[in-house]
Point group: C2
Chain length 271, copies 2
């Protein structure tokens, strides 16, 4: 039996990364951890996000994953460097793939990045883009994630907020969608940003990087399985997962208040 | 020992009701149940909100409360009529007090109500206001609750959204804030609606109704205590409770996936 890849996110946004990964690695098993009880991470203190990420990474390691994808921009920005030192298996974040894709995409050298308050305040994207010699415009869009969670991605509410957040965007040719929820908002963001701007989705480019670096299981006819561990409500989660599609699997509820001992609680549960 | 009053909400919004209740009943004990693991209720199916409310009401009854305040507009709108038939102790919702206050406040007979998608779609406010002979304008403002949760109540984001939601508000003289989060947005809503519009907060008027109908414990120098049961993260909850103030008390985390058996788990815990 091959070992699964762990993927975690504060909520459902990372399912876009999981879907992109499964398209590239169809026979690979995955464990997806969705911390919906504590979503969103985007406005929480850096230290709190780091602690949550540490708990979840430890939990996934106990399930014998071969590597872990932090499919959450806030957690990647706040926790990845520390966690790399503490974790035995490879860790992949979403920031570096997004930066590399933007470097490839830009002609003018003027790029932008949008994300949660936590991601933008961390400066993780900006520092790396500037280190690559690019000019950077950045804007926190704290309400965008709620548009997606509310099912309002294609609404007047979304257009009003997109025009508000991008109102003073300078002339850039590339815009990084620095939040795994934002791919759902692409039609509205493209309309407001203009057709000349290339949108870079960190979900897609992260999946490419991970797929390129894992050892394939070899040709197989058996489809890989997904197991979801969810700290919040299961019904709403299943509904969202079905809407995104391509991520079907068993959903196991998990008590977030006992996450530290959860390795015991789930022992014997098929992953 | 006097029996506590139970108060529940999908999240932190109902703390504004609890605060208003404690100002009126300072020696009364309260149990506040915050279902932060499954917040928000506002966009969830009616049947799901009803099931959550039923679980929480049963849980509070096991803790021997003298009555239960449903300090959540969505739960009041979707679940209160059914629950009244199933529950032995008195239940108070936030809809009727808001309707009665609007009837008292209006001179022109033209009133408005804003709330979550679930509350507005239920028609609970509109039906009762129309039955009282008033003309009613109603608007769901799904992003308002997120402004408050994000700490953006006094931001340009809030002004942009308030102008958007109230853009075609007709000439009314009274506007019901049909969501316990909205009192925090009063400055922005008043600015956009205009000084001539009276804003009715369901938190305040509900507290008045409950305080008028419970038997006082009699004169007492001892301050009433609050016990909080919280299904989601405790740290973020405590931070919000401290910001609101006047609701200090012990915070007990609760596993929402085992809420049905939680009466056993909390037996012996001082309430």
């Amino acid at each position: 039996v091959s070992r699964p890849i762990g993927v975690f996110d504060s909520g459902v946004g990372g399912l876009t990364v999981l879907k992109a990964l499964r398209q590239r690695l169809p026979s690979q098993d995955f464990i997806y951890f969705s911390d919906t009880a504590r979503v969103p991470y985007g406005r929480k203190p850096r230290e709190m996000v780091r602690e949550f990420s540490r708990e979840i990474t430890a939990f996934l390691e106990q399930l014998d994953v071969v590597g872990i994808v932090i499919a959450c921009n806030t957690a990647s920005a706040c926790a990845l460097p520390d966690l790399r030192e503490e974790t035995a298996v490879p860790l992949w974040g979403v920031i570096d793939p997004g930066v590399e894709a933007a470097c490839r995409a830009t002609g003018s050298g003027c790029v932008g990045v949008i994300g949660t308050k936590g991601t933008i305040a961390s400066g993780a994207y900006q520092d790396k883009l500037r280190a690559a010699g690019l000019q950077v415009w950045a804007r926190a869009c704290p309400m965008f994630v709620h548009l997606v969670e509310e099912g309002l991605a294609d609404s007047e509410d979304a257009r009003v907020l997109a025009r508000h957040y991008l109102r003073d965007m300078p002339r850039i040719d590339t815009l990084i969608l620095g939040c795994t929820h934002y791919p759902v908002l692409v039609p509205v963001i493209q309309e407001v940003a203009g057709a000349a701007v290339t949108l870079v989705s960190s979900a897609e480019v992260t999946a490419e990087v991970v797929a390129a670096s894992v050892v394939r299981n070899g040709p197989s006819n058996s489809a890989g399985r997904v197991t979801h561990y969810v700290t919040g409500g299961v019904h709403a989660y299943q509904h969202t997962a079905e809407t995104i599609g391509g991520v079907e699997g068993k959903v196991i509820p998990l008590d977030v208040t006992r996450l530290a001992d959860a390795g015991v609680a789930v022992r014997g549960t098929p992953a």
